[in-house]
C-alpha cells in the first residue's frame, strides 16, 4: 500500500488484465528456467521418463554436472574468446560508428554524397544474414580471415546500420551552436569531435554498447560458419557440442547452458540501469 502526500495509506488500483498477462508471460520464462536449473543439479540417474523425473527437485544438489561441463566445453577458453570478440567488436563499433555518424549526420542535409551514404549503410539492415552467409564463408577463407579477427570485423560491419541510425538520430539533439562555439574557440573538427561531441554522445555510446554487446555475445551463427571446425570456440558455440555428442545427457547440457548464461546475468545485475536506459534510448530516438 502506498502513502499519499499526508502519510495516509492509499489503496492502489490493480490493473488485473495487465497483471494476469504479465503473470502468464512470467511463467513462460520461469518454467523453462526452473527446468534447466533443476535438471542441471540432478544426477543423470534421477532422470526418469515420467514428468516427475523431469520436474522434481534434485534429491541432492550437486555441482558435478557443472564441473564436468566446464571440462568438456573448455569453458574458460570459450569464455575468454567470447569476451575478446565482444569487447573488441563493441569498442571498435563505438569508435568507428560514432565518428562515421558524425561525418554523415552533420553533412547529410547539405551534401548528396553523405545523404546517399547514409541510405546505403542503413539499407544494410534489410539484408538477411542467410543471404550473406555462403559468400562470406568463401571470402573470409580467401582473405585468411576465417578466424576471430574476421568475426570481429564482420560484427563491426553487421551492426553498423543500426548504430549509424542511433547515432545520427541522437546527433540531431546536439545543438550545432556548440560546434560553432568550439570552432570560434579554436578547435579543429577533430578536436571538436573528441572534446565536445564524443563526450556528449555518452548516453548513445551506452545504448550502442549494450545492444551490440548483447547481440555479439549471444550470436552463434557467425562464429559457427566463419571459424567453425578450427577448435576455437565461443561460449554459444561450445553449447552446440551437446547436440551431438551428449544428446542424451541433458544434465550436462543444462549445466553448461547455465554456465554460459552466468556472465550475462552478472553483467545484467551490475549494469541493469544502463541496459534499460540503453534499450529505451534506442527505442525512442
Amino acid at each position: 500500500m502506498a502513502k499519499d502526500a499526508f502519510g495516509a495509506k492509499v489503496k492502489e488500483k490493480v490493473n488485473w488484465p495487465v497483471t494476469i498477462l504479465l503473470l502468464i508471460g512470467l511463467i513462460t520464462i520461469i518454467f523453462p528456467l526452473y527446468m534447466a536449473v533443476v535438471i542441471a543439479f540432478k544426477d543423470p540417474s534421477e532422470m526418469t521418463n515420467d514428468i516427475a523425473g523431469i520436474l522434481s527437485l534434485p534429491s541432492s544438489w550437486s555441482l558435478d554436472n557443472f564441473i564436468e561441463a566446464i571440462q568438456v566445453t573448455d569453458f574458460f577458453n570459450s569464455f575468454l574468446n567470447s569476451l575478446i570478440i565482444t569487447v573488441v567488436a563493441v569498442v571498435i563499433s563505438v569508435l568507428v560508428h560514432s565518428i562515421a555518424a558524425y561525418a554523415i549526420g552533420r553533412n547529410m542535409d547539405s551534401k548528396k554524397l553523405f545523404k546517399w551514404s547514409y541510405y546505403f549503410i542503413v539499407a544494410g539492415m534489410y539484408v538477411p544474414f542467410a543471404i550473406l552467409m555462403m559468400p562470406l564463408v568463401k571470402q573470409t577463407a580467401i582473405l585468411h580471415l576465417d578466424n576471430m579477427v574476421g568475426v570481429m570485423i564482420l560484427y563491426v560491419v553487421f551492426y553498423m546500420p543500426m548504430n549509424m541510425m542511433l547515432y545520427t538520430g541522437y546527433l540531431r539533439n546536439i545543438p550545432i551552436a556548440l560546434e560553432e562555439a568550439a570552432r570560434v574557440d579554436g578547435a579543429s573538427t577533430w578536436t571538436t569531435y573528441w572534446k565536445v561531441i564524443f563526450p556528449l554522445m555518452k548516453p548513445m555510446h551506452a545504448t550502442v554498447a549494450v545492444l551490440t554487446g548483447l547481440a555479439v555475445w549471444n550470436d552463434v551463427m557467425t562464429p559457427l560458419v566463419i571459424m567453425g571446425g578450427q577448435g576455437v570456440n565461443t561460449l554459444p558455440l561450445a553449447q552446440m557440442s551437446f547436440q551431438t555428442a551428449f544428446s542424451t545427457n541433458y544434465n550436462l547440457a543444462f549445466a553448461s547452458y547455465l554456465l554460459a548464461m552466468l556472465p550475462m546475468i552478472i553483467f545484467y545485475v551490475f549494469a541493469q540501469k544502463q541496459i534499460i536506459n540503453g534499450v529505451t534510448n534506442g527505442a525512442v530516438k
Binding site: 551552436a177 556548440l178 560553432e180 570552432r183 570560434v184 574557440d185
Partner: protein
Amino acid sequence: MAELSLEHVGKTYPNGYEGVKDFNLQIADKEFIIFVGPSGCGKSTTLRMIAGLEDITSGTLKIDGRVVNDVEPKDRDIAMVFQNYALYPHMTVYDNMAFPLKLRKVDAAQIDKIVREAARILDLEKLLDRKPSALSGGQRQRVAMGRAIARQPKVFLMDEPLSNLDAKLRVQMRAEISKLHDRLGATIIYVTHDQTEAMTLGTRIVVMKDGVMQQVDTPSNLYSKPCNLFVAGFIGSPQMNFIDARVGEKGGKITLTFGANTITVPDAKAKALKPYVGKVVIAGIRPEDVVEEHEYAENKKLSEKIAATVTVYELLGSEAMIYGDVDGGQISAHLSATNPVRTGDRIQVAFDVDKLHVFDKETELAIVH
C-alpha cells in the same frame, strides 16, 4: 583591440536568396556597435560572417587592416557569445572558460590566472566547479560572457545574448554589459532585435531591414533624425505616429492637411517641403511630441489644435499613454500620470512642430526632420 572594416560585404545563399546586400561599415577601436532590425533582416548573418561561421559571398572583411575573408574563425582573434550560450554541458564552468585557452596551448598557471580573473569580474567565483545544467539562465549567460572574456580577443561578437533572459534580468545584464565595455575597452559588435538594448548600449547603431543597411548613427541621432520611414518606425517605443497628409501653401506658409485638420509647418522645415506642394506625404510625430491640452507648455512650438477621441488609456505608472482617433488618422500620445483624460474623452492635442518628421510617400525617405 581592433578596427574592423566591411566593404561591399554580401551574402547570397545557394538557392539565390540574398541575405545581406552591399554592407559597408567602418568600425573604430573600442566601439560598441549594435546591429538591430526585425527577424530575418540579415543582422545575425552579418555577425556570423564576421565570426567566420558563414562564408562571405562578395566584398571584403578586414580586421586591423588584414583581409580575413578566408581565415578560419579561430585565427580571426574574435570571441562570440551565442544566443543560447552554447556552453559545453559536460564541462564545469571553469573548464568552459579554460577551453579556448587550452586549445591555444596557454600554460596551466596562466590559464588559471586568466580564468579566475574573468570569474571575478563576472562574480562567478563560487560557481567554477558547477556544470552548466546546475546554473540559472543569468548565470549561464555570465559564463558565456566569461568564456569570451577569458579568450582576450580583439573583437567581441554577441548574438542576441540577452534574449533568453527574463525581463528583470535582462535589464540587469544590460547594465553589466555596458560596464564591461567600459572596463575592457573592447570592440564589441552586438546583435539584437530589442531597440531598448540598442539605444542603451551602442555607441553606434546599424539598423537593417531585408539584408540592407538602413542607417548607421549614434542612438540620439537615430532617434531624432531617422533617415527613412522604417528607421523612424523601428526606433522608439511606442512607435512614431504616421499620418498621410497633403502638402499645401497658404499665405507663404507651408501646411500639412489630413482630414479636417491643417497644421502649419515652421519655416525651418518649410523649404524642403516646397517641391511637394499638392502631393501627399507621410507626417511623423513621436508620442511624446503630441501634447494634450492640459499639458500645453510655453517652451514648445505647438501646431494648431487637433480634435481627437481617446480609444485606449494606459496608465504606466509615472506616465500614461493614450491612443486616439483624429480626423484622417490615428494617434498615440504620452501624458503625465496626473492628466485627467480617460477613455472616451473628446480632447484637443497639438504637435510640437519642431519635432515633426516628414517622409516621401513613394521613396519613404525623410524629407525633413
